[in-house]
């Protein structure tokens, strides 16, 4: 778990002249078993950190996690099964299966990414309100999706 994440350069899709009407950043397999928090997302801002305000021009949006606040069962209660589900297992998925979060970044993408740019980076900064530590951020992959 970290409080700040800077992505590797994400290769930008080729444009065929038509403008994107929407751009999304999708965060896959986001952990949500602990504290609730906000994750602020910046584009091409590797120096963004907890002191970077939302009105920074490189701010693109945020997602929020409503966390479970810890495990309240016995040992193993909050372990998410790692094996693929038996197709005949009709029980609902485990409560702590990691989440996908979509941040719509259309305006920021248009503002911050020039047609000639080949890559962009994403910086994510987590905030847990109050005195608790901010090292709550954990996810597997980011994907940029643009729609024409």
């Amino acid at each position: 778990m970290v409080e700040r994440f800077i992505s590797d350069p994400i290769e930008l899709p080729a444009r065929d002249g038509e403008d994107h009407y929407r751009a999304d950043l999708v965060f896959y397999d986001v952990e949500h078993s602990g504290a609730s928090y906000e994750a602020r997302v910046f584009i091409n801002a590797p120096d963004a950190d907890a002191g970077t305000p939302r009105d920074d021009p490189r701010y693109a949006g945020s997602f929020c996690i409503f966390g479970h606040g810890g495990c309240f069962g016995d040992t193993g209660h909050c372990d998410v099964p790692s094996e693929p589900r038996d197709p005949f297992d009709l029980r609902p998925p485990h409560q702590l299966v990691p989440a996908s979060k979509t941040v719509v970044i259309t305006e920021a993408f248009k503002r911050l990414v020039a047609p000639e740019d080949e890559t962009m980076t994403v910086t994510v900064v987590a905030f847990v309100p109050g005195p608790d530590a901010n090292d709550v951020l954990q996810f597997d992959t980011i994907r940029l999706l643009t729609y024409q």
């Binding site: 504290a35 906000e38 945020s62 929020c64 409503f66 998925p93 979509t102 905030f127 309100p129 109050g130």
Partner: protein, 266 residues
Amino acid sequence: MPTVPASPAAAATRLRHRRNARTLTAGQLANFRRAITAAQALKDDRGYQAWAGVHGLPLPVHCTHNSPLFLPWHRAYLYFFEKSLQDRVAGVTLPWWNWTMRHDEGLPAAYTAARDPKREPNPLRSSPIHGPGREPGGPSRTRRTPGQEGAPPLPTLPQVKAILELTDFMDFQSQVEDIHNGVHVWVGGTMSSVGTAAYDPIFWAHHTMIDRIWRLWQLRHPGSGPPAALLHRALAPFPMTVRDTLDMEALGYDYAGTTAAAGGTG
């Protein structure tokens, strides 16, 4: 020739309206507080603690988050909780907290006043949390830390309007859930944890607002809704499927900003 007596005409059914928490009449607010107080006094499965516990603690956690069932499950939850309140005080409905407005005020005054006009403790300000509903070492009453440093801002009307424009249900639901998450984080304290959130009386007003936004989306996008593959899914522990949550007329409620009435010729 004998005739079969005609069935009596079906009684005209009246939808009940959920109203804006900031514009309740004094009588509507008093009735709602009376229902919550009565529910909080019940220790059995009709009571407030039992209903709050359905969402999170004590285990099992029934609520669905980060799930395609997020909106339908919470609609069923509100429906059955509201029915239990109507068993206490006939006709009461859940008010909604419009967190897109009055950001200077934050939480509605109805939920923050220490006492009601009769000088009785305000049951909407906080609630007990019974032992099985507490996190280990957690408090015995709900608490809030609204808007503390580091919290996301409350959602704005333009944000909600943009979400209402989305045409795909799953896309809409995903964005609504994120706004919903942010309000839980903004309120803080008991509301910021899945296990305890529903013990705070503001939880119900927050989720009624979420349900209202879904209703507004349904009105703007008739014919759109959850994918067919979800419609038969059960919403445990409630005896409802996703399909059952889609028809507001069948559920018997709708949303209004305010309502007022006067007697007829009677």
